[in-house]
């Protein structure tokens, strides 16, 4: 085998890799378009008539809070004002070292409550359960710090009264009708055990009293790129997989679950880095092993808004953590991979996530280094290198643009046409530096996961809109 044939083979390998990954994304895009159209038809039916009935399922909103003193009052107030007929809010104070509990006690007139607390899923001991004298639907669970969000949510699950629970981050901004939209799949299909909603980037939006007042696009480049990334991830990523009942992630920022299903699998894994994905994979595995009918679904409506990192250091830590969480979750549930009778999740989603999401950064970085190195050594021409780079960029832009089309087909969240142009521009620019940077971070995450070191948590700096109104 000559160097020439090896190089030739490598070029075809990278070329094939790009073609396959984008072919899968293209397929997901088509599936997502079909699914969103179908969803909007039915959603349109219900929208004309927003009267609640006794058939709406009651729901417990679980809000884990650790050192959330600056936002907890506003976000709890916002959660108490959601448009839903029957729900309770459970704020879990996960051993905060600041005055989160004191603020909650003062603001909501909390009083110890003799809750017959059940330890159905494991978590650190609960110290006291409080009930608000002003808001009967508000409970605060004060527990020992469990060093993970999962532990706090588990404590909330143990205290839930209702058959569904919604896990939501304390700093998430919910749409007033988010619960109604996320619960709808449970009403329409008794097989549904989990439902996720689209999370959007709140940077640049005007927030008041814990609610979104006006949608806008941040002036920060990193926030803008993340808007495009979130559109890609949620609108056609998850929506496409939803069509095949192969959704692998329900975002930790907002997700509604059938409580009994989650209890049966043992609740959230307290030592998981990506506890949201790990839970969904465990649910898939359990249901398939038990041969039960189930559906994990996804609603495309923008139901939840979250603050995205606006500085490179925080973003880097976030991406490294996500990649490690992905590796851990996929490895923990490797038995789902290409398993007989496993359906689309085993034969499509899991292989895709392994090859393209988990090990993709390694292939991409190797590809960039190899092409540049080969060009420097004169093994391949600079034209060839440039052509392959253009191909990678072209397909990346194509993907982001298709997400913009889906957005225009469905929700038109960004009202100004100027924003559409800005997002298109960002979709092009992100391929020159940003994308390569995130690939390197993901590779660091992959390496860290393989070595088994603990991930770092970055202190999230709030964007202006959130800091002012959230």
């Amino acid at each position: 085998m000559t160097v020439q044939s090896v190089l030739f083979g490598m070029q075809w390998l990278f070329f094939g890799y790009f073609i396959v990954i984008y072919a899968v994304y293209g397929g997901l895009n088509i599936l997502a378009t079909v699914q969103i159209r179908r969803y909007l038809q039915i959603a349109g039916l219900a929208d004309g008539d927003n009267v609640f009935s006794s058939l709406d399922l009651p729901i417990s909103v679980v809000v884990p809070a650790y050192n959330e003193s600056s936002t907890i009052i506003t976000s709890t107030r916002a959660m108490l004002q959601l448009e839903y007929p029957d729900y309770e809010v459970l704020v879990v104070n996960d051993g905060s070292e600041d005055d989160t509990l004191e603020k909650l006690t003062r603001e909501f007139h909390l009083q110890p409550f003799p809750e017959a607390y059940r330890n159905r899923v494991s978590c650190k001991p609960v110290k006291t359960v409080y009930r608000s004298l002003r808001y009967p639907s508000l409970k605060v669970i004060d527990k020992e710090n469990g060093r993970s969000k999962a532990d706090a949510i588990n404590a909330g699950i143990n205290a839930c009264r209702y058959p569904l629970f919604c896990a939501v981050d304390a700093d998430s901004i919910l749409e007033p009708d988010s619960l109604r939209r996320a619960v709808r799949p449970f009403l329409e299909d008794p097989d549904v055990i989990a439902s996720g909603g689209t999370v959007r980037v709140a940077n640049g939006c005007k927030v008041r009293g814990g609610f979104l007042e006006k949608v806008g696009l941040s002036g920060n480049f990193l926030a803008q790129v993340q808007v495009v990334e979130y559109l890609r991830a949620f609108l056609f990523g998850r929506m496409g997989w939803d069509n095949l009942n192969a959704v692998l992630i329900v975002s930790g920022a907002f997700g509604v679950f059938d409580k009994e299903a989650v209890v049966q699998v043992g609740g959230y894994a307290i030592d998981a880095i990506g506890e949201d994905m790990e839970l969904i994979l465990r649910l898939h595995r359990f249901m398939r092993e038990e041969k039960r009918r189930y559906k994990i679904t996804f609603v495309p409506d923008p139901v939840c808004w979250t603050d995205a990192p606006e500085d490179l250091a925080t973003l880097r830590k976030q991406r490294i953590r996500w990649q490690r969480g992905l590796g851990q979750s996929l490895m923990l549930h490797k038995s789902l991979f290409c398993r007989r009778g496993g359906g689309a999740i085993s034969w499509l989603a899991m292989p895709f996530y392994y090859v393209f999401e988990l090990f993709g950064p390694a292939v991409e970085v190797f590809g960039y280094v190899f092409m540049a190195g080969a060009a420097c050594l004169g093994w391949i021409s600079w034209e060839t290198t440039a052509i392959f780079f253009c191909l990678a960029v072209g397909l990346g832009v194509l993907l982001s643009t298709s997400a913009l089309v889906l957005e225009e087909l469905s929700f038109h969240v960004y009202p100004r046409t100027r924003d559409l142009f800005r997002l298109f521009l960002v979709a092009i620019i992100e391929n020159f530096g940003y994308r390569q940077l995130t690939v390197v971070w993901r590779l660091q995450g992959l390496y860290g996961w393989l070595r088994g070191t603990r991930p770092e948590w970055g202190d999230m700096k709030r964007s202006e809109g959130m800091a002012a109104g959230g």
């Binding site: 030739f8 070029q11 017959a116 093994w379």
Partner: protein, 353 residues
């Protein structure tokens, strides 16, 4: 030694060019969609500014419905007008709805709605179905009925709503048996259709269907018990409790019953092997509110299942025959810690702790 890679290079060039072309095309599509959306929004706002005041006045005084001069509607605006009329019509009932229907006749909207029903585009078909229903167009009954069993849920549910709007007496006996078969019909929508038709029309066909339905359908139909008269639901629940043994049916029947059914059978079910049957039995005993049931609820406070304990405790706390002191005495005499804790919680929820 540069590699001769013309084939892969050519393929990459072609793919990159194709990607660039498709990207530009897609972005153009996005821009077109945005433009269409903006224009549509603008036209809708303009049309609404002209017509909603007329709709409102028609609903209030009938003047426009009969002979007041109306603004001219060009052909291109007709569909938009149909949609806006339908939106407004959804908001009113009674005489206002009749006046709006008269106005729609004056505007010649019915033939347009009928044509929409036959279109291939789903949103037009849905609009057509909705409007013929709102205008109570009996001539369209057969055409709507054909859509009722369509696999597309949006179409079949809209058809069901239209039939109920046209002739509820005739529609409900046709729709109720389908509820058990079409388990994917949105329950909230069906609940609304049934509650709009009212218990006079719904009660009998619903209860008849529940009585004869297989397990899954019976459980599903029992969820709409609120749409029937309490006496009818109690009767069918009682018959199910006597004749059926599936835990899902027993639980659904206990949940649907409003009281006033054979207490012995309900008490017997507090010992059922399935926990959710025991839980619903405890709840129903609480709703029936008989003084001698205190003794059948007390043992449930020590049940192995939290929900059974909780419902029993809630039933006791809500009992009109037990005052705060009696409840505290019951709590105090519980030797089981779980029984004591759960009653304390129920008392605290009632503000009696």
């Amino acid at each position: 030694m540069p590699v001769n890679s013309s084939l892969s290079e050519n393929a990459a060039v072609l793919a990159a060019l194709a990607a660039a072309a498709v990207t530009l095309l897609l972005f153009s599509v996005a821009l077109v969609l945005r433009t269409v959306h903006v224009l549509h929004d603008r036209r809708t706002r303009r049309l609404r500014a002209t017509w909603w005041p007329i709709f409102a006045e028609t609903a209030a005084s009938e003047r426009f419905a009969v002979d007041a001069p109306l603004p001219k509607v060009c052909f291109g605006q007709k569909r938009l007008l149909l949609r806006e009329w339908s939106r407004f019509r959804n908001l009113v009932l009674g005489q206002a709805a009749v006046s709006l229907n008269t106005l729609a006749t004056r505007l010649d909207l019915l033939p347009l709605a009928r044509r929409h029903m036959k279109r291939r585009l789903l949103n037009r078909r849905l609009l057509g179905l909705q409007v013929v229903g709102q205008m109570r167009d009996r001539d369209s009954w057969d055409a709507i009925d054909r859509v009722l069993e369509d696999p597309n849920i949006a179409l079949s549910v809209t058809a069901a709503t239209a039939l109920v709007n046209i002739h509820a007496d005739r529609a409900i006996p046709r729709i109720v048996p389908l509820i058990g078969r079409f388990s994917r019909w949105p329950r909230t929508q069906i609940g609304r259709i049934l509650s709009r038709a009212g218990p006079d029309i719904v009660s009998r066909p619903l209860c008849r269907e529940i009585a004869d339905a297989p397990t899954e359908a019976a459980v599903l139909l029992l969820q709409f018990a609120d749409s029937a008269y309490p006496d009818d639901i109690n009767a069918v629940a009682e018959s199910l409790l006597k004749s059926r043994s599936e835990p899902a049916v027993l639980s659904a029947a206990l949940k649907a019953a409003r009281g006033g059914i054979c207490p012995e059978r309900v008490r017997a079910l507090t010992g059922h092997e399935t926990w959710y049957v025991r839980m619903q039995a405890a709840s129903l005993i609480g709703r029936m509110g008989k003084d001698k049931d205190v003794s059948s609820l007390e043992p449930l406070l020590s049940d192995s299942e939290w929900w059974v304990r909780y419902r029993a405790a809630q039933a006791l706390a809500a009992s009109p025959f037990l005052g705060p002191n009696s409840l505290r005495r019951i709590a105090a005499r519980q030797e089981d810690r779980f029984a004591h804790d759960i009653l304390q919680q129920a008392l605290a929820e009632k503000g009696l702790a």
